[in-house]
Every structure is written in structure tokens, then in C-alpha cells.
């Protein structure tokens, strides 16, 4: 029994994990890649890459249609992927899992379909100041179309929602609250369970943008009691172009179809169409089949490591990096919430984030610079952009050391 488990420490076998991600061994600008842009998209483990490869080599057929063996096999596989996601989110039914193109698509689906049914002139929709443009624009357009009003929950200097202000916004005109679980720019973990509870006490449904939350924590949609939960496959170590909308059956059944076409119907005549049951009602056209399968494979992969273990390890990285970065003169962290995911946004006195990002790139270090699709948030902090380092469980403290060295070097060069 050589490999006894260490229970107290986050037991991550980092060498083994890194070996699972082929891209991590490549070089960028002659230096070993340090990938700290996980908030934008995460890298893919070999099992996901092989699942996609295998799909095209041995499984490719259209689903839900053919009587032939290939079609039947892949339909079973695709529906198995849906069940994997259902279990992962602890959704009550598999048909509450709608495959979409990603978080943006999921939110657009709800804004459009829920909006058609439930939003009229003078109604109000609540979002927060820290939303990604993807959770602002669909609601903004809906409000413009319907003559509804968008209300915004303000935040404090640390980047936390002002809960008393949220409660003040609640009134009978509010039809839905749409909120991010974790801020992509600040890393703030919002108290979504509490928010849902408060909203539900006034019979207001809540949509959670979980794009940044799913890679870092276990999500239980029943425990949260979320009405809608949206996320993307590619941030969860799965393929791009596939995502999920979880929706409570009672809402999805009442909502009209979003996009329509092949696969969404029971019968069609030129007078009237009878639409299919969930989830097919919301899945028009041939879906991203290998995407769904790849996403389920990614979920299996992270569940093997365990999201609790991942969360613990990433928190260690966050604390380690935060301490190191604070020691650098002129650096200011934007987003200092008590409850934070492994995302650090910062600015450097007198220097443009773009310049820092360019120098770091020369050192093989991938970070994100700019407004991170959260311009209203940037306006709130009175800045044009930040440099953002976002960590995943395959990152290491040694990489953070290199990043800090690189950052110091960039500052020295640019000052």
C-alpha cells in the first residue's frame, strides 16, 4: 500500500492530471505553455479528444431518426450523455436537460421563449452589475421589444452583490431574475441559493448563468431550486459549440419553442404544427452530437478527480497567487470578495493591460486582458480593462511562480 490517500490535503496527482492534457506539454514562443486563461475556455483531457475522434471513426450517424443500427447506437449514446449531465446537476428529469450551443445560446433561449410567454409592457427583469454581456444583451433586447424595464443589482467595492438593494428591487412587476453564479471578471461567488429563496418567496423565477461555476464546484439544481441553469461545455473541459440549459419541467412545458425545424415536432400540416415533448421541443436541427458525448466524457473525467478535491486545490492556488501578486508594487486586485473562485483580475498602476498581456505572451503565459465582456462592470470600477489570470486544477504553484516573475519582468520593461 504505497499510495495511501492523504485525506486532509487536496489530493491531486498533478503529474498524472497534466499528462491527461496533451496541450499542456506544448511550447509557446519557445517557452513551456502556462495556461491561465481557463475562464475563457478550458483545455481538454485526452479522454474527451478520443471520444470525439472515436465518434467520427466508428459512430457517426444522425440521431433520433434512422432505423439502422448506427443511428440507434448513437441515439442511445447521446441520450446517455444527457443522463450523465442530469445526474451531474442532480436534475429531477433527463428531459429537463436541453442541449444548446453554449451559455449564450441557453440564455437567449430563455429570454426569447420565456419572454414571449411572460413579459409584457411595464414588466421588470432583474440582472446584476457584474453580468457578462451574454446575460445582459438578451434581456436588454427583450426589454426593448416588449417595453419592459431592466433593473440592475448594484455591488460593493469588493465586488459583492448588495443584497439589501436586491430586496428593494423586488416588486410585483418583476418577472424573472437572471444572475451569474460566479463573476467571470471578479471571481465573486454569488449567494445564488439565498437569492433564489428570496425571489421564490415572491414567486419570481431565477435563471443562473453557471458558465464560470460548473468547472469549479458541484452544482445541485434541486438543492439550489434554480428555475434555469445555463452553462457551456468548453469551460467544463468539454468541446466548444455545445452547452446546456437546465430548466424546470413546469417552465419548459409552458414555454413556446425557441428555434423550430427538424426534430422539434410531432406532426406538421400547413395549418398547425404539434410540437414534440421535452427536450426535443427545444432542440431544432441535427445537434452537436459529438459535442454532447464529449461533454459527458468531460463530466466523467472531472468526477473521477472529484469537484470537492478540485475546489480545494484551486482555492490553494488562488490564495497562493493572491498573496504573491499583492506583494508587487503598483498592482491592484479588482474583485476581493470573501467568497471567490480561482480568478484574479488586476490592474497595474500606469500600465495598459494589453501591454502586460503582450509581454506575458512572449514568456509563454496565456492570460486574458481587456474588459472580459463586462463593460458595465469596468465602468463601475472606472477602468478600461484588467489582466485576468484564471486557474484550473491542472495549474501548479510553480506556474504561478513563473507568472509572478513574468509579471515583474513585464512591469520593469514597460515602466
Amino acid at each position: 500500500m504505497k499510495e495511501s490517500t492523504t485525506i486532509n490535503k487536496a489530493s491531486i496527482n498533478i503529474e498524472k492530471i497534466r499528462a491527461d492534457f496533451p496541450i499542456l506539454s506544448r511550447k509557446v514562443n519557445g517557452k513551456p505553455l502556462i495556461y491561465f486563461d481557463n475562464g475563457a475556455t478550458a483545455q481538454k483531457p485526452l479522454s474527451v479528444i478520443e471520444a470525439i475522434d472515436n465518434y467520427y471513426k466508428t459512430q457517426n450517424a444522425n440521431i433520433h431518426r434512422g432505423v439502422h443500427t448506427l443511428s440507434q447506437e448513437i441515439t442511445i449514446e447521446y441520450e446517455k450523455a444527457r443522463s450523465t449531465i442530469q445526474k451531474h446537476l442532480n436534475a429531477k428529469h433527463a428531459h429537463e436537460i436541453i442541449f444548446t450551443k453554449g451559455t449564450t445560446d441557453s440564455i437567449n433561449l430563455v429570454a426569447s421563449s420565456f419572454g414571449k410567454k411572460y413579459i409584457s409592457k411595464g414588466d421588470e427583469i432583474i440582472i446584476s452589475l457584474m453580468e457578462h454581456h451574454s446575460n445582459i444583451l438578451p434581456w436588454q433586447i427583450l426589454c426593448e421589444e416588449r417595453g419592459a424595464i431592466l433593473k440592475v443589482i448594484p455591488i460593493n467595492d469588493a465586488g459583492e452583490l448588495l443584497m439589501n438593494e436586491f430586496e428593494k428591487l423586488l416588486n410585483a412587476k418583476i418577472k424573472i431574475v437572471a444572475l451569474t453564479h460566479i463573476s467571470n471578471t471578479l471571481g465573486t461567488i454569488n449567494p445564488v441559493k439565498e437569492i433564489i429563496e428570496i425571489a421564490h418567496s415572491k414567486n419570481i423565477p431565477v435563471l443562473i448563468d453557471g458558465a464560470q461555476a460548473v468547472p469549479h464546484s458541484a452544482i445541485d439544481v434541486q438543492d439550489l431550486d434554480a428555475d434555469f441553469y445555463a452553462f457551456s461545455g468548453h469551460k467544463l473541459f468539454g468541446p466548444t459549440g455545445v452547452g446546456v440549459l437546465y430548466g424546470k419541467e413546469k417552465w419548459l412545458n409552458k414555454m413556446p419553442p425557441y428555434q423550430v425545424g427538424g426534430g422539434t415536432i410531432k406532426t406538421v400540416t400547413f395549418d398547425k404544427t404539434e410540437y414534440a415533448d421535452l427536450p426535443l421541443k427545444f432542440e431544432a436541427g441535427t445537434p452537436h452530437i459529438e459535442g454532447g458525448i464529449g461533454l459527458a466524457t468531460a463530466i466523467d473525467y472531472i468526477n473521477e478527480i472529484g469537484l470537492d478535491t478540485i475546489a480545494k486545490y484551486e482555492h490553494e492556488l488562488l490564495v497562493y497567487a493572491t498573496e504573491a501578486i499583492q506583494k508587487i508594487e503598483g498592482v491592484k486586485i479588482i474583485g476581493t470578495a470573501k467568497n471567490k473562485a480561482s480568478v484574479i483580475s488586476f490592474i497595474v498602476d500606469g500600465l495598459h493591460p494589453f501591454d502586460i498581456g503582450t509581454i506575458l505572451d512572449q514568456l509563454g503565459i496565456a492570460v486574458r486582458t481587456g474588459h472580459h465582456c463586462t463593460q458595465p462592470l469596468m465602468q463601475h470600477f472606472g477602468i478600461k480593462g484588467t489582466i485576468r489570470a484564471s486557474f484550473a486544477f491542472y495549474n501548479t504553484k510553480q506556474e504561478i511562480d513563473e507568472f509572478i516573475k513574468g509579471l515583474e519582468r513585464a512591469i520593469k520593461m514597460l515602466k
Binding site: 514562443n29 500600465l351 495598459h352 494589453f354 509581454i359 486582458t369 478600461k384 480593462g385 520593461m413
Partner: protein, 139 residues
């Protein structure tokens, strides 16, 4: 000097650098030495949109030649701007319109021409050429 001759001069200059650090240090120096644009031209309508770094570009026609001045809030971008001005400014609209600007690739800075939203260089070159076309039409 012709545009191509200036490009060659820059290529030679950059050949002296052994590594990326020297190259970027040079760009940063160029950025710092770029003459300041007249404050009255640092306005919204002179701003080139679509990039992380803000770039202001002003041009005027003097004796049949286009004179550019510019500024940026990012120093590396400003260095690139300085190079573009050195190459294109003080030339006729025709010369500017026909400039191929191969030097960017030759000095190993093509990443600044990649079609991402992160850099204003592509938009800036486009605007410089558009200004030249506008002067040509007016002439």
C-alpha cells in the same frame, strides 16, 4: 525616402536584436518617443474602434503629402503606431494606398496583425489608407 526604403531600414534595424525582449524594448522606446498628438485631436471621432488599446489618429494634407500624427494608451501599440507613421507619413496618397507593408512580417511582429479584437494595428492601417484615399479623391 520611398516607403519601401524606410521599410528596409526598419527591417535592418530589427535584425540587430537577438531576442524578443530587445525587440519589445525597442518598440517600447519607439512608443515613448512618438511625438505627442495635438490634444485637440484626441477626441472620440479620431478614435479607432475595435481594439483593447485606444488609438487616436489624425491626418492632414501638406503640399500633396499626407502627414499623420497618432497616440495610444498602450505603449507597445504606440510603438507599432510610431513605426507605421515613420513608414507612411509624408508620402503622397497614391504611395500610401499602394504600400504593401511587408516589413511587419519581416520584423517578426505579424501577431499584431492577427484578426483578433485585441489590437488596433489592423484598424489603424485601414484608417491610414482610408484617409489617403479621401485626400486622393479631394485632389
Amino acid at each position: 525616402m520611398k516607403i519601401e526604403e524606410i521599410e528596409n531600414e526598419i527591417i535592418e534595424e530589427f535584425e540587430m536584436f537577438d531576442d524578443w525582449m530587445q525587440k519589445y524594448e525597442h518598440l517600447i522606446e519607439l512608443g515613448k518617443s512618438l511625438p505627442l498628438i495635438d490634444a485637440k485631436y484626441k477626441t472620440e471621432n479620431k478614435l479607432i474602434k475595435g481594439c483593447q488599446a485606444q488609438v487616436w489618429l489624425h491626418s492632414e494634407l501638406k503640399d500633396g503629402k499626407v502627414i499623420y500624427t497618432a497616440d495610444s494608451d498602450a505603449i507597445i501599440t504606440k510603438g507599432m503606431v510610431a513605426l507605421m507613421i515613420r513608414v507612411l507619413s509624408d508620402h503622397t496618397p497614391d504611395e500610401i494606398m499602394n504600400a504593401k507593408l511587408n516589413f511587419v512580417e519581416k520584423i517578426g511582429l505579424t501577431q499584431h496583425l492577427s484578426p483578433t479584437r485585441s489590437n488596433g494595428l489592423v484598424s489603424m492601417i485601414k484608417q491610414m489608407k482610408l484617409d489617403a484615399i479621401a485626400y486622393k479623391i479631394k485632389q
